[in-house]
Symmetry: C2
Subunit: 379 residues, 2 copies
Amino acid sequence: MPFAFRLLKTSSRSAARLGRIFTDHGPVETPVFMPVGIAWSVKALNPHQLEALGAQIVLGNTYHLYLRPGTELLKEAGGLHRFMHWNRPILTDSGGFQVWSLKKFRKIRPEGVEFSSHIDGSRHLFTPASVMKAQREIGADVIMAFDECTPYPSTHEEARKSLDLTLRWTAEAAEWVDKNPPIHGYDQALFGIVQGGTHIELRHEAIETLAALDLPGYALGGLSVGEPAETMYSVAGQCCRWMPEDKPRYVMGVGTPSNLLELVSRGVDMCDCVMPSRNARNGVVFTWEGKLSYKAAKHARELDRPLDEQCSCYTCRNFSRAYLRHLFNAEELLVHQLATIHNLHFYQDLMARTRAHLRDGDFEEWRDGLLARWDAKKG
Amino acid sequence: MPFAFRLLKTSSRSAARLGRIFTDHGPVETPVFMPVGIAWSVKALNPHQLEALGAQIVLGNTYHLYLRPGTELLKEAGGLHRFMHWNRPILTDSGGFQVWSLKKFRKIRPEGVEFSSHIDGSRHLFTPASVMKAQREIGADVIMAFDECTPYPSTHEEARKSLDLTLRWTAEAAEWVDKNPPIHGYDQALFGIVQGGTHIELRHEAIETLAALDLPGYALGGLSVGEPAETMYSVAGQCCRWMPEDKPRYVMGVGTPSNLLELVSRGVDMCDCVMPSRNARNGVVFTWEGKLSYKAAKHARELDRPLDEQCSCYTCRNFSRAYLRHLFNAEELLVHQLATIHNLHFYQDLMARTRAHLRDGDFEEWRDGLLARWDAKKG
């Protein structure tokens, strides 16, 4: 079925929402966390393992896929789902954040952004239309309009100028998408990205302008780019009050388990982040008791203790902290797989429990208990 | 049940044998190929994946386990099976080959070999008794007596001297093992290693001396260390004629699919090698049509073709050559997992088909067809 969002419940004691997204590749229960696959795989995991740990939807990077293997190849492959053998929903980002990260190697023009490939230095131009064309070829279920990520801090004038670009580009993207239907035989929903930095009146204006386009969903971009967590929460909370109630709300590139609970409490439905997979590979996992540096020497003899005693993932059911630590120190590839399975399973479990508590009506007490415990342990 | 070997059938048209090894961790059908786990994991694969691709027994390196995490920890863990969560049989090598490879960093003494750790330069002494003690702590089902690997080429005198060391050390190992029973509650079978280089009369003498010890099994060491393949085949073939018929015969550290078929034809029951896993990670896989460099540009658009059309592994059932090539070029970790699954599955399948053809009595025709095909393609 084509893309749709159904709001199932809003908490009476916070802005947290329970919902369901429908796509041609199946439903997504919200709030949802989306693991990130860069180019394209979720690093050490195969799609069967991703399914087994409960991932409902994954995120692909338009920038990386555009450069390698190239969206022409993905078009020929019948889309990314077939290429990577993943039959559940996919969301692709706009490429805006990646070209913004290139800093020295990009030039912002009125028509788009010219940039040099981080792979071979070749020059490319991303425009609202070219990014939409790339995402049509990739064939994700949710596609993002090209935006400019406003840095933090930025003056009102800088943020204003940057926002104007994003708003104009989004209108162009929406127009292009209307004129150019999907090529892989299933629906693709265009989300617009709200920019404006920490200038809340600019965020408000952005939401008004984008809401008028009546897009299937909206994202908050330019968060978690250096501002204090409290600022991020307050901007996201205020924006959620202004954003259409009947459309999914997606905060891009955030964050820690605490961040997720705080954002969900403010009315956010979707998040993505490289953090759980990247941290796992660097020796750090998230647990119900807080963060754990499993590479630390003190775990060397924990032969009967899993990473997390409350976790039911493949790694925690079968392996000890001592084994994981040994694999990390011996630089064995298997550690990437096992630690990533745990962290992504933890994030999925966190969101599944969030949904269950929202259903049961006791989300806020449960959240407060967790945040207090993690805060006490700086987890 | 304690270690035992049952010879089920010997081919009437070659020296190839069908057999079964019994261990306290279950049976092993021979001829068998053993994947190698260095320190300890089979690189990108978890034990569940190893089981799924048909691995019956895996090999661990005593040298690596001794240095990291240390055999004391494995003793405390209740053995390597529990530590790495692998419930099928394990064989550990003697450490002889690794300390031999250290060359500049080792000194051979009458009582053993003194060497510097490749990790931190710390000094260690391997003696026949200390290596046995380490293997008792690791707790493999098959343990190897400490040996000196004779280099190729070596003069008769050099090989003679080296062999004398190995023979004396093996007798010491057997004596130590008799006096020091297993500590993990299950049987461990000691195999002796036949050295002698390419000096066939020394190999003969080694076999006579070792056979008198009546060990549960025997290995051929010092092969595939630089000698021509024909020499390796001829030494192995001659040795197999002299080795006890009722004991398993194991050729250490060999080799290509063709090597395996040639050795099996000469009466070899067990092989191990890092080749399938290492090659997979370097962009090369083995197929029923010969070797395939899946990273090559010519596979970039093979969107509907698996690595091997005749293969039923997870990778070949689900992914194209184009996807594998893309993962390799994008340096995505997943490629290690997917390519290793294919190569190890191929080796297991090669041995399973070898056993089936031995049972059916048409092994030699089948083998000749394969060798001719691979030779034509230099596979």
